[in-house]
C-alpha cells in the first residue's frame, strides 16, 4: 500500500462572504496551487465534497463546482456529506497507485442557505419522524440529556467547552465567531431545546478548504514538510434514533479502525492534539471518551483537568472547532487541514506550544452523528 502525504492546504474565512459561490471556491484552490508552485494541469485527479442540500439551491453540486475547483477534464468524483469522505476517497486513489496527486476541494456558502435545522430536518424520513420536529439540534438535545443523566455531566462542564473553543478562535483568523465568553454567559444564553442553550450550538458558516494530496515520492518533491496519513476509519450507524444507544456510537468503531491502521495502542498517550467535530458543546466531551482520549463517562472531569486547553497535555480544537466555525460539509476537512497545519508548525497564532508529531481529526454528521470518520496524521 502506498503512503499518502498532505502537501499543502488553504482555508477560507467562515463569515458570510460577498463573493459569488464560484469566486469563493476558486480562491483557496488557486492559493494551494500557488503555494505548492504547480499548475492545474499537473494535478492528476480531483475529489470534491459539496452537497445538493447545502449548495445555494443548485442540485448536482459538482455540475456547478467543476469550473472553480479546476476539475474540468480531469478524473473527478464528488462525495456527498462530510468532507472527510472526500479525503478518504482521494487517499484511496493515491494508494491504488493510479494517481500521484489528487486535489480535494470542499465548499459551502451557509450564508445563502436556510438554517441548518431546517435542512437537517430533511434527513428524517417524511412519514414517521419528520412530523415530530426531529433535526440535528433536537436530536442532540436528547443525546445531551442522556449523557447528563447517565454520567452526571454538568451544564458547567459543557459550557467550559464553549469558553475554551471560542477562546481559541480569537487567535484563528478564519474563525466565524470571535468573542470572549464566560461560563456564565453560556449558561445565561437562551434555551434552544432543553437542555441545549444557544451558545452551546454551532453557527452556520461559509467555508472552502482545498488540500493537495500526493504519493510519498511526489509529496517529498513538492514540499519540505509533508504530513503523512497514518490511518483512517469510518462507520455508519442505524437510521432510527430509538434503535441506538446514543452514548455508544459508531465513533468507537471508526476510531478503532483508524488506530489499528496507524498502529496506535494508547491514543491518550500517543496523540498530541485533536480536532474534533463538536457542533454541540457536550459532543466534544462525549467524543473524547469514545475516541479513547479519556475514560468512558469522564469527559466532564477531562475538561475540568485542563488537559484539552491550548496549553494542556492534549489540546482539543486549538482552531476553535465547529463551535467557532461551522461550514457544514467542509467542517471535517477543516479538522484535517488544521491538524496538518499544527504538524507543519504553520497554524499561525493558534499554533500550540509543544511539538505535534501525531494528530487526530474527526468528522461527523447526521442525527447524533450517524456517520463518523477519523483520520490520524503524522510527521
Amino acid at each position: 500500500m502506498r503512503k499518502v502525504g498532505i502537501v499543502d492546504v488553504a482555508l477560507s474565512p467562515g463569515v458570510g462572504s460577498s463573493l459569488s459561490l464560484m469566486e469563493f471556491t476558486y480562491k483557496p484552490v488557486k492559493e494551494v496551487l500557488d503555494k505548492v508552485g504547480i499548475k492545474r494541469n499537473e494535478v492528476d485527479a480531483y475529489v470534491m465534497a459539496s452537497s445538493d442540500v447545502f449548495h445555494s439551491g443548485l442540485s448536482c453540486a459538482n455540475s456547478f463546482d467543476i469550473d472553480a475547483t479546476g476539475a474540468f477534464m480531469k478524473p473527478m468524483a464528488r462525495e456527498e456529506g462530510d468532507s472527510i469522505k472526500a479525503f478518504i476517497y482521494a487517499s484511496l486513489r493515491i494508494m491504488s497507485g493510479i494517481y500521484d496527486t489528487v486535489m480535494v476541494v470542499t465548499l459551502i456558502k451557509g450564508s445563502e442557505h436556510p438554517d441548518n435545522d431546517t435542512l437537517t430536518s430533511c434527513f428524517a424520513d417524511p412519514f414517521y419522524t419528520r412530523p415530530l420536529g426531529i433535526q440535528e439540534t433536537t436530536a442532540a438535545a436528547m443525546q445531551k440529556r442522556l449523557y447528563q443523566k447517565r454520567y452526571g455531566i454538568t451544564d458547567e462542564q459543557c459550557a467550559k467547552v464553549v469558553v475554551k473553543n471560542l477562546g481559541n478562535a480569537l487567535r484563528n483568523q478564519n474563525a466565524h465567531i470571535k468573542k470572549r465568553v464566560t461560563v456564565e454567559d453560556v449558561l445565561n444564553s437562551k434555551k434552544i431545546c432543553h437542555p441545549l442553550r444557544a451558545m452551546e450550538c454551532a453557527p452556520k458558516s461559509d467555508g472552502v478548504c482545498a488540500m493537495l494530496l500526493a504519493s510519498e515520492e511526489k509529496a517529498r518533491e513538492l514540499t519540505d514538510k509533508p504530513v503523512w496519513l497514518r490511518g483512517f476509519g469510518s462507520s455508519m450507524d442505524t437510521f432510527y434514533l430509538g434503535d441506538r444507544d446514543l452514548l455508544n456510537t459508531q465513533l468507537k468503531n471508526a476510531a478503532s479502525m483508524a488506530y489499528k491502521m496507524a498502529g496506535i495502542k494508547n491514543p491518550a498517550k500517543e496523540i498530541d492534539m485533536a480536532e474534533i467535530s463538536e457542533p454541540y458543546a457536550f459532543q466534544e466531551l462525549l467524543r473524547c471518551e469514545e475516541l479513547g482520549l479519556c475514560s468512558q463517562g469522564q469527559g466532564g472531569s477531562f475538561i475540568d483537568s485542563g488537559a484539552t486547553q491550548m496549553t494542556g497535555s492534549l489540546p482539543v480544537n486549538p482552531s476553535g472547532g465547529v463551535l467557532a466555525m461551522n461550514p457544514y460539509v467542509p467542517r471535517g476537512l477543516y479538522r484535517v487541514a488544521e491538524s496538518a497545519l499544527q504538524i507543519k508548525g504553520q497554524a499561525g497564532e493558534h499554533q500550540i506550544d509543544k511539538k505535534v508529531n501525531t494528530a487526530l481529526a474527526h468528522g461527523s454528521y447526521g442525527f447524533c452523528g450517524q456517520w463518523h470518520g477519523v483520520v490520524i496524521l503524522g510527521n
Binding site: S59, A77, G81, M95, S96, G97
Partner: protein
C-alpha cells in the same frame, strides 16, 4: 497515471425488476437488489469490508442524504460507507469508487449499490435545479438540453436530418428488441422504425420512442481483490480500465458535438485496458442512451466509428444485435432508467456478458465489454471496461 493498482474483479451482480414498483417501499427496493447480489455471489454481508452508495440529488429522493435513511437496507451499519454522486453518471462513479477501494488494498470486498424510485419523486423538477437562474430558461430539463445537443451535432457535421432520423429509429428498434429479451427491463414492447419516426414530438428532433422511461429500480455489484475473487467465484469478470471526465458548467463553454469528456474518459479507460481499436477489440457495449440521438454521438466519441459517421454505421447494421459490435443488448437506458442505478446496470450487464451469464441477451463469446454513463448538464462521462480475463 495509467497504471492500475491491485487487480479488481466483479464477483456478483444483482438487480431488481425495474419499472413502476408501487409494490415495495424504497428501502425494500434496495434490499431486493442486495439480496440478488448476495445470492449471485454466494457470500453474505459479513464478507463485505465497505459499502458505496449513490442516487440522484436529495430533492429527487424525498430524504436528504438518503444514505442515512438507507443505512439499514444497505446493510451498512457498523461499516465504512462512501456516498459518491455525480448526477446521471453516478452509477459509474460509485462503481469506480468501489474499484479504487479494492485497488488501494484497503478493502478486499466492496458492495456498491445504486438506486432510484422515480415514481415517488419528480425527476424533471429536480433537473430544473441543476442550471443556474441565467441558463435555466434555455437548457432546463433533460429533453431540452439533449435535443439542443443533438441539433448541434447534426449541424456541426452537416449530417442529413433524414439520415440521422432513420439511424436514431434503428437504435430505438434494436433497444426495444433487447428490452424484450431482458426480463428485468421496464419497457417491454415491440416497435417498428415507422412507429418511432412518427411518434409524438417531445422536443425536436426527439420523439417519444427516442426517450427513456422514468423507472424505479436498484442495482448492486460486488467487487473483490484477486485473491478473494479466485476463492469465492468460479468465473469472475475483471476490471480492465476506467475513465472519468467532466466539462465546464456552462453549455456554451465547450463543444458538445465533439464531446471531449466522452472522448477523454474513453481514452483513459482504453489506455489502461490496452485497447487501440475499440470497435474491433470490444465484443459488446452498454452505452448510456437516455435518448437515441445521444447513442449515435456516443458511438463516435467513444471511438467506435469516425466522427460524424455514426448514422451510416448504424444504418449498415454495425451496432445491431447481429452486427460487428452489438450495443445495448439489455435494452439499454432506453428501456430502463432508474438514474442512480443506471450507470451501474451498464457495468453489471457488461460483467454478465463476459462471464456468459446474460441469458437471452447473451452476445455469443463476448470477452471484452464497455460500460458507460453520462451526467450533469451534458458534462460528465464515465467509462469502465470489463473483461473475461485478468
Amino acid at each position: 497515471m495509467g497504471r492500475m493498482g491491485r487487480a479488481v474483479a466483479v464477483i456478483g451482480t444483482g438487480q431488481t425488476k425495474h419499472g413502476r414498483r408501487d409494490d415495495v417501499s424504497y428501502p425494500d427496493l434496495v434490499r431486493e437488489a442486495i439480496q440478488a447480489v448476495f445470492e449471485d455471489a454466494g457470500i453474505t454481508i459479513q464478507d463485505v469490508d465497505a459499502i458505496v452508495y449513490g442516487s440522484m440529488p436529495s430533492m429527487m429522493e424525498g430524504v436528504a442524504f438518503n444514505h442515512f435513511y438507507m443505512a439499514d437496507a444497505l446493510r451498512a451499519v457498523g461499516k465504512p460507507l462512501l456516498r459518491t454522486e455525480t448526477c446521471g453518471s453516478t452509477g459509474q462513479s460509485i462503481a469506480q469508487t468501489g474499484i479504487y477501494w479494492v485497488a488501494s488494498g484497503m478493502a478486499d470486498i466492496v458492495l456498491v449499490v445504486g438506486s432510484e424510485k422515480q415514481h415517488e419523486g419528480d425527476a424533471q423538477a429536480t433537473m430544473m435545479t441543476i442550471p443556474d437562474k441565467i441558463t435555466l430558461p434555455m437548457v432546463g430539463g433533460a429533453p431540452v438540453a439533449f435535443s439542443m445537443q443533438s441539433r448541434e451535432w447534426m449541424g456541426y457535421f452537416n449530417i442529413d436530418e433524414a439520415k440521422a432520423r432513420e439511424a436514431a429509429a434503428i437504435v430505438s428498434v434494436d433497444c426495444h428488441d433487447g428490452g424484450l429479451n431482458n426480463p428485468l427491463a421496464h419497457i417491454q414492447m415491440k416497435v417498428t422504425k415507422e412507429e418511432v419516426m412518427n411518434a409524438k414530438i417531445i422536443t425536436y428532433p426527439v420523439r417519444l420512442l427516442d426517450v427513456c422511461p422514468s423507472s424505479d429500480g436498484a442495482c448492486a455489484v460486488l467487487f473483490a481483490s484477486k485473491d478473494k475473487a479466485r476463492k469465492i467465484c468460479k468465473k469472475p469478470a475483471w476490471v480492465k480500465g476506467m475513465g472519468f471526465r467532466g466539462e465546464e458548467y456552462y453549455t456554451g463553454d465547450s463543444n458538445k458535438a465533439v464531446w471531449q469528456s466522452t472522448i477523454g474518459a474513453a481514452q483513459e479507460a482504453y489506455k489502461q485496458a490496452g485497447i487501440t481499436d475499440p470497435r474491433k477489440e470490444l465484443d459488446v457495449a452498454e452505452i448510456y442512451n437516455p435518448f437515441t440521438y445521444h447513442e449515435l454521438m456516443f458511438m463516435e466519441c467513444l471511438g467506435l466509428c469516425p466522427p460524424g459517421e455514426a448514422p451510416d454505421y448504424v444504418i449498415d447494421g454495425v451496432f445491431s444485435p447481429d452486427g460487428e459490435l452489438p450495443c445495448n443488448p439489455s435494452g439499454g437506458v432506453l428501456c430502463t432508467n432508474c438514474i442512480g442505478a443506471t450507470g451501474l446496470i451498464r457495468l453489471a450487464e457488461a460483467a454478465r456478458q463476459v462471464t456468459g451469464k446474460a441469458g437471452p441477451m447473451q452476445v455469443e463469446g463476448a470477452k471484452l465489454a464497455l460500460s458507460h454513463a453520462m451526467g450533469g448538464l451534458e458534462q460528465f462521462n464515465a467509462v469502465t471496461i470489463i473483461g473475461s480475463k485478468l
